[in-house]
Amino acid sequence: MIHAKALTRTFKGVPAVRGVDLDVHEGEIVGFLGPNGAGKTTTLRMLTTLLRPTSGTATVAGHDLVADPSGVRGSIGYVAQGGMFTPPSLIGAELLLQARLHGHSAREARRLVGEVLERVGLAGFERRSPASLSGGQARRADLALGLVHAPRLLFLDEPTNGLDPRARAELWDHIRGLRTTIFLSTHYLDEADALCDRVLIIDGGRIVASGSPADLKRDHAAATLDEVFLTVTGRPMAEAAA
């Protein structure tokens, strides 16, 4: 689903992502784990065509990132770190626009909106505004925006950031139940452990370890992903935030 080679991005000469190689296969939930400032969002924004890579190549959902960005956009869904609604908008109307921009007829779009709201547990929320939702509901509404056109590949940037533990666990259940290929970033070690088939650990713009949570722990003789991070980078994740 994703094949990236040596993806690099510098901002005004300062490197944020330094030669990331990654492969994500159909049906996998892959976690991109790293402290704040590690380069997760920058990588996701490159893979979703929002940022041009400084160098490197990638194929996303069968389309070349640089040669066919429009093909990439048609096959993916993206849920940004900070959400994607203005507070006074209507959830149903925004979802409808999103589906229409993905090329669905008005009728088909209305059906997709009803379906996706059901899928994220917000059936009947069409006339609600994001400002009226709880934190967990708002994140699920964001999820609906990324999912409404039933993409083959979904990017989630820190999907549970700032939620309380109960809302996080609830969102994990929703994400697990989506049955689509997912590439998600997180700085929560327990999230990577609980949710992901495979984890890529990123630090300082480089991937420093990868594997299933079980393999990573076994290979580094560690009890938790926290210890894996410590072994690989020489410092605990909690202190690593740039």
Binding site: L50, S70, M84, P88, A93, L96, Q98, G103
Partner: protein
């Protein structure tokens, strides 16, 4: 096609918050009520001289400041979300601009209705042609306003554009015809497309077509500059 989907979406949003529509007409309507009687009594001209100026004021205040709408879309990630769809960035811009044009037409119709009640008498074909001219010009104005909002960002857009529309309004001769202006001011005024549009509107309202050629030419030039410029800003990766 996509542009119409975008325009329809934003029109529905705007009509949901009806106060936005009313709010845009308030200032020109206040001029009509509190300035109109003074203006028409001063000997400068009648309602058919004032109202074209108020239409220009309406266009500058609504389409000129419409970029404010995109500031929030930018801040809350809506812009990025729309960009991760196959919809072209050009249609995303054109859709918003079309929305502004339709909205301006509705607001202008309301203002003209009020002006009729106050005593405006004008050539009907002239008014229709004048509206077409103003709305076409406003396409460029709205496009530039979005470009300015994406370039200036949250903090600067409101103060910079709020200040910029004042000299543009005064220079267009909307509030007082430029006939009495000193030569240098007249020259500066003639360098803006807005002056030519106001002059043409006054002629059209009076049933003449004097100066229409200049107005069409300056609107054409204005669009030829504004639309590509705004498209470039919209295509910028971090806009």
């Amino acid at each position: 096609m996509t542009a119409f989907v975008v325009a329809a979406h934003y029109l529905r949003e705007t009509f949901r918050h009806k106060f936005v529509i009313v709010f845009g007409v308030v200032q020109p309507a206040l001029y009509l009520v509190f300035f109109g009687p003074v203006f028409t009594g001063s000997g400068v001209g009648d309602w058919d001289v004032l109202v074209p100026g108020l239409l220009m004021q309406l266009a500058l205040l609504t389409c000129g400041l419409t970029g404010f709408n995109i500031v929030f879309d930018h801040r809350f990630g809506v812009l990025e979300r729309l960009r991760v769809t196959p919809a072209g960035r050009f249609s995303l811009l054109v859709g918003r601009v079309l929305k502004d044009a339709v909205l301006l037409l509705v607001q202008a119709a309301a203002l003209l209705g009020l002006a009729l009640a106050f005593g405006l008498r004008a050539s009907v074909p002239g008014v229709v042609a004048g509206l077409a001219l103003v709305v076409t010009m406003a396409l460029g104005l709205a496009a530039l306003s979005y470009a300015a909002a994406l370039t200036l960002g949250d903090g600067l857009f409101a103060p910079v554009m709020g200040t910029a529309v004042v000299p543009l309004l005064l220079l267009s001769g909307a509030l007082l015809p430029m006939e009495g202006a000193p030569a240098w001011l007249d020259a500066v005024s003639l360098a803006t497309p807005f002056r030519h549009v106001v002059d043409a509107l006054r002629a059209l309202f009076a049933g003449s077509s004097h100066g229409i050629g200049w107005a069409v030419l300056s609107v054409g030039l204005f669009l030829a500059v504004a639309l590509p410029l705004a498209t470039r800003v919209f295509n910028r990766e971090n806009a």
